[in-house]
Symmetry: C2
Subunit: 429 residues, 2 copies
């Protein structure tokens, strides 16, 4: 990775920008797919699966019996790992239930307002396949949906080489209480969940990672009135390292992000050039024995080391960059953590690798990329809930409020708004 040693503010600002993506406009293709799914329903899903995945799915929708039968083929050790990951994710997200309590406030005598949480009723989870099925994504999306109490949890995942769903995904889907498991992937799966077909129920919100086609389809789904979890971009990690960091650990963390895809970006923020060089050396060594070496190597060309001589500059850079994952391999990570303003998930100390959060510690791995951490948090229980406000007002409460409502409504030229109040007080003013 290229090392920038205390570059100017201008260069630092440039480095905060993500590498430009090849953003071929997929709008025309998406229009075509959504229109075909609207018109031909499940037949369009099979057609696109044959076209894009080169396979005819055995079934689009699996029955619960089929799902359970396939799930049992999951290797026992993997089942146990899924069970434990499920438990940890559940424990962490269950803690968020407290934020969903009813909040009642008496604003004035006779004016009582509150918020109540309601689960989003129908949610669609997308679990990518590609080189391997992302079992962990099924858990990360499904566990909070289950805790929220979403009535219908639908899971779509592309067929494997046999035209079926991987046993481990069936096992995870059963654990999270997915009502329907669909063997369909790509943009056509997103279109199906947005519009609804005979096999695939339409949903209110779509969650999950995916390639550029899935991302474009999720954007199109919004035009169909369906919400999405967050805007997506390539995965990324930033490691902040001082002289207490272990170069071999840091290199392993950077490579674990780089192996995701050729468009991943990894960034090392180091307190001195020596660390940057040591990490670079370690990366070369470790890269040599990595199965996904070619992918990681390509990702490193988008990546860089930045040496900065003050903690303030490091914190500023990290907050401006707003990384998806931020690893603090420094002497006092707790202290630095308090200064983090923009990040998806933060890992403190030398024994908190990103892959712990990716799979097992319980935090969610569906996180904002591409600078979206400035405005978005990761997926959580909140993502599966909306809060509704309620109010109940007595006639005397309304009389107090009238002194506020009437002048404001009149100032906004909305006299029917004022009248809705005065008509209720007519007999008593």
């Amino acid at each position: 990775m290229r090392i920038y040693d205390n570059p100017s503010k201008t260069i630092r600002d440039q480095l905060c920008r993500r590498p430009a993506l090849e953003q071929a406009s997929l709008d025309i293709l998406m229009d075509e797919i959504f229109e075909a799914v609207r018109k031909d329903g499940d037949r369009a899903l099979i057609r696109y699966t044959e076209k894009f995945d080169n396979i005819t799915p055995q079934n689009v929708a699996l029955s619960l019996n089929e799902q359970q039968a396939i799930a049992l083929r999951t290797p026992k050790a993997l089942m146990r790992a899924i069970d434990r990951a499920y438990d940890n994710i559940r424990v962490f997200h269950a803690g968020q239930v407290l934020d969903q309590r009813k909040e009642t406030v008496e604003i004035l005598p006779g004016v009582t307002c509150w918020r109540e949480s309601r689960a989003i009723e129908r949610v669609g989870l997308y679990v990518p396949g590609g080189t391997a099925p992302l079992i962990s994504s099924a858990l990360m999306l499904g566990v909070p949906a289950q805790i929220a109490g979403c009535k219908e949890i639908i899971l779509c995942t592309p067929p494997n080489k046999l035209g079926a769903i991987e046993p481990a995904v069936c096992y995870a889907a059963a654990k999270i209480g997915a009502k329907k498991l669909m063997c369909v992937g790509g943009a056509q799966a997103i279109a199906a969940m947005a519009i609804g077909t005979k096999c695939v129920p339409g949903v209110d919100k779509i969650f999950g990672p995916g390639n550029q086609y899935v991302t474009a389809a999720k954007q199109m789904a919004v035009k169909y009135g369906v919400a999405i979890d967050m805007p997506a971009g390539p995965s990324e990690v930033m490691v902040v390292a001082d002289e207490t960091a272990r170069p071999d650990f840091v290199a392993a963390d950077l490579l674990s992000q780089a192996e995701h895809g050729t468009d991943s970006q990894v960034v090392l923020l180091a307190t001195c050039n020596k660390i940057a060089k040591a990490v670079n050396d370690e990366m070369s060594r470790q890269l040599a024995t990595l199965p996904r070496k070619l992918i990681a190597d390509k990702a490193l060309t988008n990546s860089f080391c930045l040496v900065l001589d003050t903690i303030d500059k490091m914190v500023n850079f990290a907050n401006n960059y707003a990384p998806e994952h931020l690893i603090l391999s420094v002497a006092l990570p707790e202290q630095l953590a308090t200064q983090v303003a923009n990040a998806g998930s933060v890992f403190l100390g030398n024994y908190s690798p990103e892959s712990a959060g990716d799979y097992a510690s319980g935090t969610n791995h569906t996180l904002p990329t591409n600078g979206w951490a400035r405005s978005y948090g990761g997926v959580s229980l909140d993502s599966f809930i909306k809060k509704i406000t309620f109010q109940t007002i007595t006639q005397s409460g309304l009389r107090s409020l009238a002194e506020v409502i009437v002048p404001l409504a009149n100032a906004e030229n909305l006299s029917a708004h004022a009248r809705a109040v005065t008509i209720r007080l007519r007999n008593n003013l």
Copy 2:
């Protein structure tokens, strides 16, 4: 309004769809405006203001002194109304601070995870002008931003006929602690906040209502990496009325929504035809003396009464429709409220008009329209905050997690993820 008396399920489903909007694609115009603002900055803002608002603004950015001087021209009675609305909104939203507390969970010995809230640093509030400045929107957006502790609160509003900002908006802006007040409206204001100009700072998230141009510009802002509060559509209210409802109150509530714009939709759900007719008669009577009669009258052509003979059917219809505002003018509103699954804000009983929530009771009036209440709540403190997850793991904690991480990473073909863990345990396995 047309009355549908216990129509078929098919008709009921059709009635849940909103009237089709004239969705002339504004993409080309938006591309042009954003590109001009990117290239010419503030000069483009002045040019578009002259073109669209037919006025040259006195200043694009007001200094704090100018803002305060103008604010003092607000009529005293209106100032007092703003003060009281501000206080009530503040009390209600301050109750939401509890949801922002740090949540620490010890997942296993040596594995500690938590979430912390961070304010979105730079937020842009859009306050429409048009026939009158929406002072209340400045408060509804600004108060939660202020409580959240957003570092920079920017407010944009179009110039009035004198090319300046209305005193009451200046007064509200000062109360909410807006750092910069900009005299610019429309799509160009949104582009400026998305991109940043010399006068208008770029922001991380844009909030606020607006016409179709503002809505299209907000969608474009997302492509520039800037978040928005929620997708927008015309305002709407649904009133559920049984024989305990007062037809004159119900008619006043329906008209208060209808006066917003010709594309507003108002819906009456009545338990019997007699109520529907009585409300219709009252609406005709009240409409005659309404200053915005023509607007309201046109909105009523998009609107309807639906008579349904069971409470279950009413609840189902309301939840399928997912109204922005839902008024329950029934004998036992608390009971019905528990069954509400999808709505922006709910008003219980005969003395809780929507205009109380629009201005004064403390709940937020920035709410999901067009069926988005299925997946979105209204603006709240949460809208100005993102939650970051943190974790700290000891070496022995990591050793426990390794049994989960390694099998899952291998099943997903991500061996560098596994190695980031095993390398840390090498000396001790």
